[in-house]
Symmetry: C2
Subunit: 253 residues, 2 copies
Amino acid sequence: MRIVLIGAGNLATNLGKALFHAGHEIVQVWSRTEESARALADVLKCASTTELKEVENTADVFIISVKDSVLSSIASSLKEGREGQLFVHTAGSMPMDTLPFERRGVFYPMQTFSKSKEVDFSVIPCLIEAKREEDLQLLKTLALTISDTVYELDSVNRKYLHLSAVFCCNFANHCYSLGAELLKKHGDIPFSVMLPLIDETASKLYSMSPREAQTGPAVRWDTNVIEKHLQLLADTPDMQKIYELMSKSIHHD
Amino acid sequence: MRIVLIGAGNLATNLGKALFHAGHEIVQVWSRTEESARALADVLKCASTTELKEVENTADVFIISVKDSVLSSIASSLKEGREGQLFVHTAGSMPMDTLPFERRGVFYPMQTFSKSKEVDFSVIPCLIEAKREEDLQLLKTLALTISDTVYELDSVNRKYLHLSAVFCCNFANHCYSLGAELLKKHGDIPFSVMLPLIDETASKLYSMSPREAQTGPAVRWDTNVIEKHLQLLADTPDMQKIYELMSKSIHHD
């Protein structure tokens, strides 16, 4: 397919590369800054621009991958002269109807992207949505060229999926961070000591639900250990509060 | 080495097998129930008993791997007739001095064990401690026969390590559980959709600290998304409270 990429951030970069390697023709990259536009266009062997009015008028799909806060205004600027074209955005928490186009949709690859780290796109789930049935089929076909896991999901349920990802990724990672802080302050053991445990905890989910996989003092409701742990956290009341709330939540789960 | 195993639970089973496969002689297994004692003794090709007074009088090391709540009383029952023998326990949160023996120590393999799932012991960190220097060396030698990662750690710092593990394992897993709950209630997407994200979040820790790896609305302090998420959680106040507390804690990290 002929694709125009609006944006050159982490997600746009990773998505653009995956589409390019799958054999699609990226015809143009737009970015606010010339440096980003050029850098990505070089990799994708295509044209670049920093002017929205110079964006191509036709393509099989226009993929807008920009910050949530500017999505609506950038989309509006692209409307004139591109009636009848298919526009999709890549934002997990933004409704499809943020886009002011008749042919609109969402193409959300759910992953935590960093520009420096190349990702294997084939294992990344793609959540798709479209206003028109034929566009949904087009997005599905496109998604399956780069990912093994493609689901249709409407805007309301996608919000919850995004929220679920905040728990599974950001909040789980913060638990690692709090664990790392404790380790740093007490004894001389590097955080790498926790990696096998962290890996095993994640790996268990391939054979059981997180609820079934739960272990430790909270699920056993071992109040003796819990009390001792709360005492150890007496000088960090925020962490103590998190310990208490998480333990109660595990106990009631 | 000649080893006596007191206990036949998840940890004792996994540890016993690892020691056996490393070429050590497990001379005897004690368990409260005959069934457990026999089952493990069969695998380790050794004798079994359910009577503490029938436990061997000599061995290179006696490993007590029982519930925290009965550790002290079982250890006391073993004291008579075994003076001069080395006893260690395997409990992360119990001080070494819980053991009433002159030659005492701790041998704590830090992992989340399930009886059904065989583990690769070589990647499991072993934390060791001993009252006497020569016993510490003996435990180190023993630990290195089954694990690539062996650290010495005293009882006070081991408490914090155990607490850190609660954050990295139990609390992170509870974040998965809360995420799974959200997904179950909204839309028809299986929890497996989260596994690549969860794996990537864990895998990032091999190249950066959890703090550096953090992404999402809380670290960006995107109050627009955070407010929307809090609204989505309005009907589950406990989860809403956890969302709020975790987001603030990430923001202040």
